[in-house]
């Protein structure tokens, strides 16, 4: 990515604002500046789109809660002296 300007924002500045923008935490005027920039800068548009897609893929791959193996749970309950409670709720799988 070369650091050229489109409107008032440089590519470097856009990158620095990317976390807030992708997390929906940017103010409206910042969003407008970013959107104006990427409408004229193809590399930044690709970076914004594919970073957003990367995050959504991470979420898609992580949609099922990780359950611990039953033997790991048993040892955990023993260590916590909760053996008599270990049958209270089976581990979600």
């Amino acid at each position: 990515m070369t650091d050229h300007t489109h409107n008032t924002l440089t590519c470097d500045q856009l990158l620095g604002m990317l976390t807030d923008y992708l997390d929906g935490q940017s103010r409206d005027e910042i969003c407008h500046e970013i959107e104006a920039h990427i409408s004229g800068c193809n590399n930044c548009r690709v970076v914004v789109d594919t970073t957003r897609r990367t995050i959504s893929l991470v979420h898609a791959c992580n949609d099922k809660p990780l359950s611990i193996p039953e033997d790991v749970r048993e040892r955990l309950f023993q260590r916590l002296n909760l053996d008599d409670h270990s049958a209270l709720k089976s581990n979600p799988s």
């Binding site: 970076v47 594919t50 991470v58 790991v72 581990n91």
Partner: protein, 200 residues
């Protein structure tokens, strides 16, 4: 665990030693904490140690929990400290305080393949998921722990900063670097699929 979906717990019951409530807490958080340990340390035995040590400390310290942060953030803080402490012992050469790159140049995007519009079945294939998991595993530890808490466990930037005792600015910088690092690796992988599609 997505913390937005976390069940609520009675702090009073936990403080007074209610074993049923503590069991509920352990069952709700053991998966995410084990996952954090596994992703940070990569070995099941080490992840189990993180899991056990975390809940032993939760049990020992719940009476002194002052609710300056949420219960969830407090538990993640204990777990992250456990995992980072084990990492320091195992690999003292790892610098957990750096931001994962010597300079800004190291995380500047260099791949500009527009793979975002590839079909869902390509993007979410089993092979792509394996590739993504490997890319997460390969992140520098100082970035990986931030990425796990924010993007995998769903903590907010503020909660992640509280759990790791970092400033919010530092969390955002590390998160950006982690995300861009993964994007670069996925761009190389999906780039091949993209160009196959273009050639057809």
């Amino acid at each position: 665990m997505n913390v937005q979906l976390q069940p609520s717990f009675s702090i009073e019951a936990l403080r007074s030693g209610d074993r049923d409530e503590f069991t509920r807490l352990v069952d709700a958080y053991s998966g995410p904490i084990y996952g954090l340990g596994l992703r940070m340390l990569r070995r099941e035995q080490d992840a189990e140690d993180v899991l056990q040590n975390t809940f032993v400390k939760v049990l020992q310290n719940i009476r002194g929990f002052e609710e300056r942060s949420s219960l969830s953030t407090w538990i993640y803080r204990i777990a992250a400290n456990e995992a980072l402490m084990m990492l320091r012992k195992m690999r003292p050469e790892v610098n957990l305080d750096d931001q994962g790159a010597d300079g800004d140049e190291d995380f500047m995007p260099v791949q500009f393949v527009d793979w975002g519009a590839l079909p869902e079945e390509t993007l979410e294939s089993g092979e792509a998921k394996v590739h993504l998991e490997r890319a997460i595993e390969a992140l520098p530890e100082s970035l990986r722990v931030v990425f796990i808490l924010r993007d995998l466990e769903g903590l907010s930037i503020k909660e992640t900063s509280e759990a790791l005792n970092l400033t919010e600015t530092n969390v955002k910088t590390r998160l950006l670097r982690a995300r861009l690092n993964l994007r670069e690796k996925l761009s190389v992988y999906f780039g091949e699929q993209y160009f196959k599609g273009v050639e057809k």
